[in-house]
Subunit: 157 residues, 2 copies
């Protein structure tokens, strides 16, 4: 079953309506395989469908998360980002604090160790998040070492 069919199935199952907007938003979102903020997605949709509202983007994104088609990420700059959920295993992120590049990676050993640590503390894991911040290959040459905490935050203003 392809992903946008999955959304329709979910909506039917819940007795919700399959609207133009929902389909448009889901298509644009699932098509772009990047991390998108609500605003970015909104701007992208607005170019072809100027009548779609930002609230609807937020509402649909929430639906997609509930339907298991998107996951919500928070990289600490005060903006939530969403990314399409692939069925292939969980992945984590390397984030460049200079250029903002986001690189995904997957590591079974780390996953396993996490479960181990959790078990040791009597914890049942439902999900986790791992983000590694630093300088990517391109940016590391002109490296500096202070003010790490601030870099990403700057766009908040």
């Amino acid at each position: 079953m392809k992903t946008d069919e999955k959304l329709r199935a979910y909506l039917r199952r819940k007795g919700l309506k399959i609207t133009q907007q929902r389909q448009e938003i889901a298509e644009k979102f699932l098509g772009a395989n990047r991390h998108l903020s609500a605003e970015e997605l909104y701007q992208s949709i607005r170019r072809t469908h100027p009548e779609v509202g930002l609230s609807t983007v937020y509402r649909t994104l929430k639906l997609l998360v509930d339907a298991g088609l998107a996951s919500r990420r928070d990289f600490g700059d005060g903006i939530m980002r969403y990314e399409p959920c692939s069925d292939e295993g969980h992945h984590d992120h390397l984030i460049c604090i200079r250029c903002g590049a986001i690189i995904e990676f997957e590591n079974q050993k780390i996953e396993a160790l996490q479960k181990e640590v959790a078990a040791l503390k009597g914890f049942t894991v439902t999900r986790h998040r791992l983000e590694i911040y630093g300088y990517c290959e391109k940016c590391r040459s002109s490296g500096r070492s202070q003010g790490q905490q601030k870099k990403i935050r700057e766009r908040h203003r």
Copy 2:
């Protein structure tokens, strides 16, 4: 050098002023060895010093972060939390999505693997964050398994 002396040193070095408020805030913050939100810290200080303003708490917290005495954490519920920076190695968090308990842990093997993964992608690591969400020992017995994404978010409203 004890921590509040460190702050004074930092302020002097930067030509900033050592005020009553900064000292009070730093003391309360460094004393409570928990994760505190700005608001929590503010309420706690307000009991003994009702004249201190919330903005000053925010401003001082930022200072503490810059001085390397605090680190800022974001557990994804829209509220930034701060915790005193210890010099003893980095630690990560287990977070109960039912009762909100936050348990710290440290695991060298995971740290090492992270560096390894990063190096593989040409990345220079400056910091990272790992959070494992699930049910703590107390809460797991009455466990349920859906709606994980939403649990923590609820307090946002």
